[in-house]
């Protein structure tokens, strides 16, 4: 483990006109660390995620990323092409709706292989072998490799999206409600899979979720957002077991016990 963070975020704000998306958010993320961002709809967590992943440009503030060569780069000063390259190679983005992250009309194998080709792989046999390997890692049978994701169930689509994102060996993955909209049994399988992959690959991840159980299972650190502000942050189990901010206490006490 290095002693340098992977991502440094300082006073990041995004305004939509006079409305606050998120305001003065600061944190550091280290390699291998999973940070959960929780809060209700409209709390600004998705705005924050979109700013961090440069899908959206912030109104003010900075975010620096340590590239593979050890150089620090300011995300919002990079060219569009550089950002796209980062997004295709060193980063992943797992959308809540797999259709937003997959190409629904090309085969599962091509969905995974496409990211490899984007980083310069040209050998068809190798690409296919890697795709097969990744499909099996996300528990999709090899004989589905030529099927289009349109023919997949929601849970399978989500697993395919994860494979597509991880195949290039990214160091940082953004996830927006990765288990939202899935049955609980499918959710459990996906969570277990994600947890295993994140640990095995030493990924850093920022996971936006409104589900505190998901946050507890996947993350070591947590930020609680309300009205665009971070109202509490810290170790995930500390925030959940000893919540201090009024809003966090409300969130934690609102969970239904099974």
């Amino acid at each position: 483990m290095t002693d340098e963070p992977l991502l440094r975020v300082s006073a990041l704000s995004k305004f939509y006109g006079s409305r606050v998306g998120c305001e003065t958010v600061s944190f550091d993320l280290w390699p291998g660390e999973v940070l959960a961002v929780v809060g209700e709809s409209g709390s600004g967590k998705t705005t924050l995620l979109n700013c961090l992943s440069t899908r959206l440009l912030p109104s003010s503030g900075t975010a620096s990323y340590r590239m593979r060569d050890g150089q620090w780069r300011e995300l919002y000063r990079m060219s569009e092409a550089e950002r796209r390259f980062l997004m295709r190679t060193d980063w992943g983005f797992v959308h809540q709706n797999p259709a937003d992250g997959l190409r629904m009309t090309v085969s599962a194998g091509a969905n995974v292989g496409e990211r490899l080709m984007a980083v310069g792989d040209r050998h068809y046999g190798k690409i296919r072998a890697t795709a097969v390997d990744w499909l099996s890692r996300v528990e999709i049978d090899e004989d589905r490799i030529d099927d289009e994701p349109r023919a997949f169930s929601g849970g399978m689509r989500q697993r395919l999206q994860i494979a597509r994102n991880l195949v290039t060996g990214p160091r940082l993955v953004f996830m927006d409600e990765p288990t939202g909209g899935l049955d609980v049994s499918v959710q459990a399988r996906l969570l277990d899979l994600l947890r295993g992959l994140v640990t095995d690959l030493g990924l850093a991840a920022i996971v936006v979720t409104h589900d505190l159980a998901v946050a507890r299972l996947l993350s070591q650190r947590m930020m609680v957002m309300k009205d665009g502000h971070v109202v509490e942050s810290g170790l995930t189990d500390r925030v959940l077991d000893d919540p201090r901010a009024p809003y966090t206490q409300l969130l934690v006490s609102s969970i239904l016990q099974v």
Binding site: R189, D192, L235, R238, D242
Partner: protein
């Protein structure tokens, strides 16, 4: 040899914002230290704050004030003010914790639940599983359960998985929150043996044991938590 754990003037209260901000003081002026090779027991009635103290020492509860100084790697760290990242490193390397209840993860086998803390410390998965097998055998957990996720186990079976998970590593400090509460006599004896082995290995142990026999068998010293009652200081 430096003292592995020194607690000084730690205080804890809960502020219930959903109930008009009512403040519930738990403990104040908590001060004690644990030597290597010693097992100290937190004593006092239910509600005195024993679990809260243990949870603060693990970074699970935040301390309002005071210091929790831990000998971590080659230096001293104040857990009460440490960053989340430091607390995680301390948990990985220095402080182990056996909680009262096992928090199960779907689809992870009992064997891997036990082996996980070793794997996190960089041990090979198979070597870690071997140690897990040895411990689970020692704790009389039927072998047919090892490959199953513990969610459906009985209370006593889950607790044994939890104990194995806590005892598998060589953390120099080990916190025990009623590890024997739902065990039968035979398995309680196994836990007493395991604690004795940890003491012999120079581990500093701090525990809560409601079971009188176990407490007498393992405790070198009882720390009376009622001495840290916060009610009279606050309010």
């Amino acid at each position: 040899m430096p003292t592995p754990l020194v607690v000084s003037d730690v205080a804890k209260s809960f502020t219930m914002h959903l109930r008009d901000g009512i403040r519930l003081p738990v403990v104040a002026g908590v001060s004690f230290s644990i030597r290597a090779g010693e097992c100290a027991v937190l004593g006092g009635p239910s509600g005195a704050g024993k679990s809260s103290i243990l949870k603060m020492l693990y970074g699970n509860y935040a301390a309002d004030e005071g210091q929790i100084i831990v000998q971590h790697e080659d230096g001293l760290i104040d857990l009460a003010s440490a960053s989340p990242r430091t607390v995680l490193a301390v948990r990985r390397q220095t402080i182990g914790y056996v909680s009262q209840f096992l928090r199960t993860v779907p689809r992870v086998s009992a064997l891997d639940v036990v082996a996980e803390p070793l794997v996190e410390r960089g041990e090979e998965r198979e070597a870690a599983r071997d140690k897990a097998r040895t411990l689970l055998t020692h704790l009389n957990l039927p072998e047919k359960l090892w490959t199953l996720p513990p969610a459906t186990f009985s209370g006593g079976e889950q607790q044994r998985v939890n104990i194995a998970r806590g005892f598998i590593t060589e953390h120099p400090i080990l916190l025990l929150d009623e590890p024997t509460a739902s065990l039968d006599a035979r398995n309680r004896d196994v836990v007493v043996e395991l604690i004795a082995a940890k003491k012999a290995a120079g581990v500093a142990l701090l525990g809560i044991f409601h079971d009188q026999d176990v407490r007498e068998a393992v405790a070198d010293r009882v720390i009376d938590v009622t001495a840290f009652a916060a009610g009279r200081i606050a309010a």
